[in-house]
């Protein structure tokens, strides 16, 4: 095992180098991921097939602004797989605001993740209505958006306007099939990036293949 930066680690498991984060709540598993103890520190393996952020790292993500003490607004927390790893990374003095609208998955999010991790603030609200969020205060360092909606980019931009710091990073997962099934994925990604351009400097676009089909991650910086 060796350390790559303070955010995540490459750990040797089953003969391969795998992505992992340091477990903030030792002994706690979120999605039956493997826990590995090295030199008295417990690490959780981070499955790129389950988490698109991990998939992006595997596919050469150049920017990783999630670090100790970061505050993150996460739209589309779902059952909290990725949220839990970000929670590991930002540590006890960081905050992750996890927004999720669907109550069925939010139940798992609350049960498995939010109750155990003191740096997560669960928000069961519709991301379309950022004004109604409670308990979010100040501006955040990173906005991470993974909501499968046809108008997801606009929803994300609205949220950034309310909550993202100037110069803050914005991660947008584009699930092209949710935007339009009939168009070519590549074109959809280009169109969505066009929507970002007036307010964001687009830094990198990553195809998440083979971990997720027809998904792309767009990393940009808020230059408002």
């Amino acid at each position: 095992m060796e350390e790559d930066n303070q955010s995540f680690f490459w750990i040797k498991s089953e003969g391969q180098n795998k992505l992992a984060t340091e477990n903030m709540v030792p002994g706690n598993q979120v999605y039956k991921e493997k826990l590995i103890i090295k030199k008295n520190i417990e690490y959780r393996l981070w499955d790129p097939f389950r988490s698109k952020l991990a998939a992006a790292v595997m596919n050469d993500l150049d920017y990783f602004p999630f670090e100790n003490k970061s505050t993150v607004l996460y739209l589309g927390a779902s059952t909290g797989t990725t949220v839990s790893h970000i929670s590991d990374i930002v540590g006890p003095s960081g905050i992750v605001y996890g927004v999720e609208h669907a109550s069925r998955v939010a139940r798992d999010f609350l049960d498995r993740v939010a109750t155990y991790r003191k740096n997560i603030v669960p928000i069961l609200q519709d991301a379309r209505k950022p004004k109604e969020y409670f308990s979010v205060f100040g501006k955040v360092d990173v906005v991470y958006v993974d909501i499968a909606q046809p108008d997801q980019t606009q929803i994300a931009i609205d949220n950034c306007e309310m909550f993202l710091k100037k110069g803050g990073y914005f991660f947008l997962v584009i699930k092209t099939r949710s935007i339009d099934v009939t168009k070519a994925p590549k074109r959809i990604v280009e169109e969505e990036i066009e929507k970002l351009k007036p307010r964001f400097d687009v830094l990198q676009t990553i195809d998440l293949h083979p971990y997720d089909k027809d998904h792309a991650m767009v990393v940009s910086k808020y230059n408002h």
Partner: protein
């Protein structure tokens, strides 16, 4: 200048930026929700404000509405002021004395968020339509299990008494006879008790004495009998569930039940997710619920769109001649959505809906009594040329439909491309089991609402690209640098690269 600020832990009144008076919530989640739902009375606050000067700036619309009800002169803050409050909220909470310091504030806010989220989950889980959906899904599930178990029972007991299979149609009667024991011990009385008519009882007792079947050991018989017991139990449970769904549907969705019938109504409700969601869907969506595969095929290849999905199970659609079904399905779907809306937002049973639907269906029946020439023509076939490499799907055009079909995509494709004839646009299929099998969405089952992360297929492993776990190539994440398998340098290269990228800040 007075301002009234709603926070998660209480309401504060400021005078020129200085705290004037604070009204902490004793039960933050409950009281905050009351304010948000405009149900709170806020007596203390109202009395206090009434006693001071006029013209308050208020930070929250719900709070504003409540205060206005008590004819207090107030207005909403400007957005710049709201931004300031947003940014300094923890400080406001500390200043108001709702928490002792910033650290405490964070803890309290998080607790509040957890409490509020939990109460929302509880609230949603209580809604009766979710229970109906579970019931109807259980019913379909039980049908599936009972069918399989029944044929197994017939096969197994058939080794001992093969003639019985052809004589007794109802699985219930069959199971009762199995429960009675071996062939030799079957008496007329048993047959009578199982409720068979005299002629059958005669025939059965005649046949049982000279059966072609072999002996069955006691151990085997005991197992067969416990299967029979299960079949009978399932039968009973199914009956209960049916009645339960019927009663509940009449209770919470009387209009929907009137238009669709309770069973079909409940299934469509299940597809939509909840009564409220169904009420917000367009009729065209309801029309094709359950025919997703055909719908997405139509979207991507331009083939004919499906006429009906689950609605095929509806008596009116099912009984109609083929060329009228699409029109009738459309009419039924349109009325069904209106019915769902009346059930959610209106009250009681609205008889005119069903009447109007009947009128419309009669009209269709008369107007399109005979098929036109166009109706007689078989729909264009979407057979693919030359096996796998069809043009419309190639390259980047792999579409959702594909992915959802699960398992081996290629095989699925071939099957689809095969003999696509007339009946194909319909996925309703068999009345009871209605095309579920093909429906990819069933996989996700109950979690449909969101989070496709839960999709069981995502658990790595069995995608076609194959379990990365075992794939040595996937090692460090950078696949471009080649030299994968046994290259000892690989690890270093990889980590150096990453270090450069993310190096400590």
């Amino acid at each position: 200048m007075y301002s009234v600020v709603l926070t998660e832990l209480g309401i504060s009144v400021f005078n020129d930026g200085k705290l004037d008076k604070a009204f902490p919530f004793s039960n933050a989640v409950k009281e905050y929700l009351l304010v948000k739902n405009k149900e709170s009375k806020l007596n203390e606050l109202v009395n206090y404000l009434a006693g001071t000067q006029r013209g308050f700036a208020v930070s929250d619309e719900s709070l504003l509405a409540i205060l206005k009800k008590f004819s207090i002169d107030c207005h909403l803050m400007e957005s710049s002021e709201l931004d300031t409050i947003q940014a300094t909220k923890p400080q406001i909470i500390v200043d108001s004395g709702f928490a002792s310091n910033l650290q405490d504030t964070l803890g309290k806010l998080r607790e509040f968020a957890l409490g509020l989220s939990s109460s929302k989950v509880t609230e949603v889980s209580q809604s009766p339509d979710l229970h109906i959906i579970q019931a109807i899904n259980s019913l379909d599930e039980i049908d599936k299990i009972a069918n399989g178990l029944s044929s197994r029972l017939r096969e197994w007991y058939g080794l001992h008494f093969p003639e019985l299979d052809n004589i007794i149609d109802s699985i219930n009667g069959y199971a009762q006879i199995v429960m009675a024991g071996k062939r030799e011990s079957l008496t007329k009385q048993i047959f009578e008790e199982a409720g068979f008519p005299e002629s059958k009882v005669e025939m059965l007792s005649l046949i049982s004495s000279k059966s072609r079947g072999g002996d069955i050991s006691d151990i085997n018989l005991a197992i067969v009998q416990s299967i029979a017991k299960q079949v009978l139990d399932f039968h009973e449970l199914r009956k209960q569930l049916e009645e339960h769904v019927e009663a509940e549907m009449q209770e919470i969705a009387p209009n929907l039940s009137a238009i669709l019938g309770t069973a079909v109504g409940a299934r469509i409700l299940g597809r939509a997710g909840s009564l409220k969601k169904m009420a917000s869907l367009p009729a065209s969506t309801i029309q094709v619920l359950g025919a997703e595969k055909a719908l997405f095929r139509s979207l991507k290849t331009g083939s004919q769109p499906p006429k009906h999905g689950l609605l095929f199970q509806h008596a009116m659609v099912h009984a109609a001649p083929r060329w009228q079904r699409g029109k009738i399905a459309r009419a039924v779907a349109a009325k069904a959505v209106i019915a769902a809306r009346v059930d959610v937002y209106g009250e009681g049973l609205n008889q005119t809906l069903l009447e109007k639907l009947n009128i419309r269906v009669d009209e269709i029946g008369k107007k399109y009594e005979n098929p036109t020439e166009k109706d007689m023509r078989p729909p264009p076939s979407f057979r693919r040329e030359g096996g796998f490499g069809d043009k419309p799907r190639r390259g980047g055009d792999r579409r959702r439909g594909d992915r959802r079909e699960g398992g081996d995509r290629r095989r699925g494709d071939r099957r689809e491309g095969g003999d696509r004839r007339r009946g194909d646009r319909r996925e309703g299929g068999d009345r009871r089991e209605g095309g579920y099998r093909d429906n990819p969405r069933r996989e996700g089952g109950d979690r449909r609402e969101g989070g496709y992360r839960d999709n069981p297929r995502r658990e790595g492993g069995d995608r076609r690209e194959g379990g990365y776990r075992d794939n040595p190539r996937r090692e460090g994440g950078d696949r471009r640098e080649g030299g994968y398998r046994d290259n000892p340098r690989r690890e270093d290269q990889n980590s150096n690269k990453k270090r450069k990228k993310f190096g400590r800040r």
